[in-house]
């Protein structure tokens, strides 16, 4: 969390294999054992791409960046399964239907182009496309910020239950304090490219120590 320009998206891109750090390393732990950690920028690009495709997922702020707008909703979800090696058509179709239902998209919209979807539906479709391959780690950049308030709550609830159900790890960037409180366990507050405060989400929000965090928390307008 942090104001725009604080480096939130930069850190997210860097963690998710899409922006090499100038110095330092990003380590991805595949198992319980730290010895098995992979140096994300120390492996070949091909190996990194495979890792990103097979084990990670990214939910973009603008769903249009994460979807292919000229193929059907169903194909958007199904092609990700094919990309990780699924070949059985019937099985893919079944998975796609399951996932559309999970994100509350009616099955009769399966063959429609995403162009015909509302903003909230697009975001839910992007989530289905990202999660269908059962990633272990998901990166989300402002997943609710482009949406009407009326659909935000439903999306937050959906994200939270999916993360819990699939026991995913998720890194979420947001500037919305309410979203932070409702979906995250831990919180890092960023300012001018640095983490100024971090810890348990409710502790940081209810007992902020850094002047900037205190300012942020006390500036929220209560509706």
């Amino acid at each position: 969390m942090g104001e725009s320009g604080s480096g939130k998206t930069t850190i997210l891109n860097s963690l998710s294999g899409r922006l090499a750090p100038t110095t330092g390393a990003v380590l991805y732990g595949k198992g319980q054992n730290d010895n098995e950690a992979v140096d994300v920028y120390g492996i070949s690009e091909a190996a990194r791409r495979l890792l990103m495709r097979a084990e990670w997922g990214v939910v973009h702020q603008n769903p249009r960046d994460g979807l292919r707008m000229r193929v059907s909703a169903g194909a958007n979800v199904g092609e990700r399964l094919m990309a990780v090696g699924c070949r059985h058509y019937g099985k893919i179709r079944q998975d796609v239907l399951n996932w559309l239902a999970r994100v509350e998209i009616e099955s009769d919209r399966m063959d429609d182009l995403p162009l015909t979807f509302s903003g909230g539906m697009l975001q839910r479709l992007q989530i289905a496309r990202t999660l269908v391959t059962r990633p272990r780690l998901v990166f989300m950049d402002e997943p609710t910020s482009g949406l009407d308030v009326s659909v935000q709550a439903r999306l937050i609830d959906l994200l939270r239950s999916l993360v819990q159900e699939l026991s995913l790890s998720a890194v979420v960037v947001t500037h919305d304090l309410a979203v932070v409180r409702l979906i995250s366990h831990r919180l890092l507050v960023m300012r001018q490219g640095k983490v100024v405060e971090s810890g348990l989400t409710d502790q940081v929000l209810d007992d902020p120590h850094h002047p900037y965090t205190q300012l942020l928390v006390s500036s929220v307008i209560q509706p």
């Binding site: 709550a153 609830d157 819990q164 831990r186 810890g199 502790q203 209810d206």
Partner: protein
């Protein structure tokens, strides 16, 4: 049974950077031990730090110094210094907290909220659902409200959802911050019964109750909060 919670020399102050750099010292050297099956009631005028103490015990506030030892399964965890992941684990299975205010995702039905709380503790779905139905009935939340989001409920109904969340799992330690503040006499009595049952199964309870009657009904002993010079 033995000691469940032990607080040693706890100090907590707030430094308000954006309001002239004021430092408010709220807790100064609090010590407290709570045994299994005991209910300790905090008393004192408002502003003496009763809520601050409860929030510190739940690690919602971070103390300046001192220790908050909690018996979590086979180990002692210091809530003042434990890692966030450890604290979350303790909150899932050992320490329950009922506050005055309900904070939930809008538009999620009351029943689903309780199901989620129950799922976090690892209880299978059917068993959890049956238990939630019983608890809601006891707390007088009529069935037509179960499918509705508590954000639309009255103050007293919201508080009862909070209470249900605190009592849905047999937490070995319970922190209760004015759980009866918005309740009528009948529901206050239900909460008194819930607290007594929890004590009987060996829970260690610390709470604040502005209601004299409730206090007398549940307190094993009281702890007078020391005045910190902020009062009149």
């Amino acid at each position: 049974m033995g000691t469940m919670l032990s607080v040693e020399n706890l100090c907590k102050s707030f430094f308000l950077h954006n309001q002239g750099g004021i430092q408010l010292s709220v807790l100064q050297g609090i010590g407290l031990t709570v045994q299994a099956g005991e209910c300790v009631v905090l008393v004192g005028p408002s502003g003496t730090g009763k809520s601050t103490l409860l929030r510190s015990l739940y690690a919602n506030y971070k103390p300046d110094s001192g220790r908050i030892l909690v018996r979590h399964e086979e180990e002692w965890v210091d809530m003042a210094t434990a890692e966030p992941r450890k604290i979350l684990e303790v909150r899932r299975r050992t320490v329950g907290y009922v506050s005055q205010f309900l904070r939930v995702i809008p538009r999620v039905p009351a029943f689903s909220i309780l199901m989620e709380s129950s799922r976090m503790t690892g209880k299978p779905g059917e068993e959890a659902a049956a238990q939630i139905r019983l608890l809601l009935a006891r707390l007088g939340i009529s069935e037509r409200l179960w499918k509705i989001s508590p954000t639309t409920f009255s103050g007293g109904e919201q508080q009862r959802i909070n209470i249900a969340r605190g009592f849905i799992f047999p937490y070995p330690i319970l922190l209760l911050d004015e759980p009866t503040a918005a309740l009528d006499a009948k529901n206050r009595q239900v909460v008194v019964e819930l607290i007594r049952e929890a004590m009987q199964r060996g829970a260690a309870i610390i709470g604040t109750f502005h209601d004299e009657e409730v206090r007398e009904a549940v307190a094993s002993r009281t702890l007078e909060m020391p005045s910190n010079g902020r009062g009149p």
